[in-house]
């Protein structure tokens, strides 16, 4: 049982961490796209709507790709007032029930409608409302679904880890490596 829990958490990490890292590395590309946009406009009097739309597309990709990654590395903001003084067991209880009662409903609720938005967009071949904008808006809508799905997966992983601690087996497995 404990091995299964640990295995699930590890397997999920093997998906969310590489996705997070890969999308984080889009950041330097986003920077270069903005610079290119600036250079084209001021150097060549050329304003490309595609490039401006690409900027928010890339930003969205980074955000959605890193949400789960950030949860795995415990970067999401918490109010530490009491939490910081909790015992590991108590923290695990918070993580398990918080995941079950708060994170999962949020992720499933938003993911459900994001999937619907994506399939509808795909079915009508949606593009940008600007005629020369980026085509295939459904791609980024799929990313929104995928980002929430990954966050849900990471939620399961963190709940598994919390369960391990609650079963008193937390210390017999390697901790999350950053």
């Amino acid at each position: 049982m404990n091995d299964t829990l640990y295995g699930i958490a590890r397997t999920i990490d093997r998906i969310t961490v590489p996705v997070g890292r890969a999308t984080a590395l889009v950041l330097p590309i986003l920077m270069l796209v903005i610079i290119l946009n600036v250079v084209l406009r001021y150097g060549f009097g050329l304003g490309l709507v595609e490039l401006e739309e690409l900027q928010w597309h890339l930003n969205a990709l980074i955000v959605l790709g890193c949400m789960a990654f950030a949860y795995r590395d415990d970067v999401h903001v918490r109010v530490d007032l009491f939490h910081a003084k909790f015992s590991p067991l108590r923290k695990a209880v918070v993580e398990f029930f918080g995941g079950l009662v708060l994170l999962m409903p949020f992720v499933i609720g938003i993911g459900w409608f994001a999937w619907g938005t994506f399939t509808y967009s795909l079915s009508i071949g949606e593009g940008s409302p600007m005629p020369s904008g980026l085509p295939a808006r459904y791609v980024i809508k799929f990313c929104m679904f995928a980002g929430f799905a990954l966050l849900g997966l990471q939620g399961i992983a963190q709940m598994c880890r919390a369960l391990l601690t609650m079963r008193g087996a937390g210390s017999s497995y390697p901790p999350v490596s950053r």
Partner: protein
């Protein structure tokens, strides 16, 4: 109406429960929103009529997509990137050494140097974590060797490191612009002088205090052989890169050369070039900075997602009318209503971070205050100054946390608290000045063409 008040109170209570249990705030907001939306579907069975229902989860999903496709939030990631990259560039260390050499003759000279560096860093990065940690790790040992009073040193480091939240570029101002429908460029302009005013107040306080009680900051021995000219040269050398960066980012917005997004890209590139000039730009550095930025940006956006879910469902329970009614029902003149709102923001700042306040409280209160006839930009700046104090007020103050984690181990929390009190008071004085003289905030935006 009474029914609305009950459900609004219940929603906030559920939020507070999850919040103080220490579960990530973004998920608490989103989860409570979804649960109450579902509750809205069940209530009619009990004969209770509410607008909220599971369709509000769909609204939340639509709003989240709206946030993702919002072009004006793109600078957030770039300013975070810029801050983390700047940390790698060695700019701060060189500044401190050079400034310390120049200022040690003044009463409290080292303290002044910390304030000045805090201001320069503030104007070259959009996040505060980096500058507080930098100042704490670099400046605290120096201050201690100089036999500086520890509380004074700790307060100076924490307060100066936090200037970046108000002084543009600032992530907080970008989120405020989005939530309050104000131009980010205008907010940046409006926050420059109030930020500088705070730094000025810190400096005056340190000079006056050290003149009265010299034992707090013992005068430094000056090496008689020391070459003043070389010290000046060092300082200039240390100042050039951050000032260039600052000019590129803020100057280009101010002079109308670039939009905030363009300026943020230029700033990120500038910081990367500075790191390269310092031979710190390796593949590993780029990876570290990107991972760190990705995670920070993700948690900032996740908070916006959670908050937009929470607030649309709150609206489904009549939350807007409840809050609006409560504020408008205050038997007070407009100035006093504004005062009450600022007081609430200040008090909430003790237990909450700026994000929860900007995302949940500000959109509910600011429009009501603005409808009383105040300039929205000015109100936003007053709230921003108030929020700046939330970083310094215990028990939940991010700056205190950063200082504690990077200070020498024998520094106690009590010392930090004692050191921070005067600076919180100075910020309130700054708030009062901007209130009495709105031009401190509004002059620059009206000048910029």
């Amino acid at each position: 109406m009474t029914q609305d008040v009950i459900f609004v109170a219940l929603m906030f209570a559920a939020f507070a429960a999850g919040l103080f249990a220490g579960f990530p705030v973004a998920f608490v907001l989103g989860g409570v929103g979804v649960l109450f939306a579902l509750l809205g579907d069940l209530l009619p069975m009990l004969g209770i009529k509410v607008l909220a229902g599971s369709n509000f989860i769909a609204f939340a999903s639509d709003r989240i997509f709206g946030t993702l496709s919002n072009y004006s939030l793109v600078p957030m990631a770039m300013f975070v990137f810029m801050g983390l990259m700047l940390e790698r560039s060695g700019v701060a260390d060189r500044l401190l050494v050079a400034m310390g050499r120049m200022m040690r003759r003044l009463p409290g000279g080292l303290g002044l140097a910390v304030v000045a560096i805090g201001l320069v860093l503030a104007a070259s990065t959009g996040i505060i974590g980096a500058s507080v940690v930098l100042l704490a790790t670099v400046a605290l040992p120096v201050l201690r060797r100089a036999n500086y009073s520890m509380p004074l040193g700790l307060g100076t480091v924490a307060a100066s490191g936090c200037l970046g939240i108000l002084v543009p570029p600032s992530i907080m101002l970008i989120v405020m612009g989005d939530q309050l429908r104000l131009s980010v460029g205008d907010l940046f302009m409006a926050a420059i002088l109030p930020g500088a005013l705070l730094a000025f107040l810190y400096a005056v306080y340190i000079v006056v205090l050290c003149a009265i009680r010299p034992e707090l900051a013992p005068p430094q021995k000056v090496d008689p052989d020391e070459d003043t000219a070389s010290a000046v040269l060092d300082l200039v050398r240390a100042l050039v890169p951050p000032v260039l960066l600052m000019t590129a980012v803020l100057g280009s917005i101010f002079l109308g050369i670039a939009s905030p997004t363009e300026a943020s890209g230029v700033g990120a590139l500038g910081a990367t070039l500075l790191a390269a000039a310092d031979r710190q730009l390796t593949w590993q550095t780029l990876k570290d900075v990107s991972y760190g930025t990705g995670k920070t940006t993700a948690f900032l956006f996740a908070l916006i997602f959670g908050a937009s879910c929470f607030s649309v469902v709150l609206r489904g329970y009549g939350g807007d009318e409840v809050i609006e009614g409560a504020i408008q029902g205050l038997p007070l003149p407009p100035q006093a209503v504004l005062g009450v709102v600022l007081l609430v923001v200040f008090l909430l700042g003790f237990v909450l971070d700026w994000m929860e306040i900007v995302l949940i409280i500000a959109p509910l209160t600011v429009p009501v205050v603005v409808s009383l006839g105040f300039d929205p930009l000015w109100v936003a700046v007053l709230i921003a100054i108030c929020l700046q104090t939330s970083f310094l007020t215990p028990p939940v103050g991010m700056a205190l946390f950063y200082v504690k984690s990077s200070a020498p181990p024998d520094v106690t929390t009590l010392q930090i608290y004692r050191g921070i009190v005067p600076f919180v008071l100075l910020q309130l004085l700054g708030l009062l000045l901007v209130w009495l003289i709105p031009d401190i905030a509004l002059k620059l935006p009206s000048l910029s063409y």
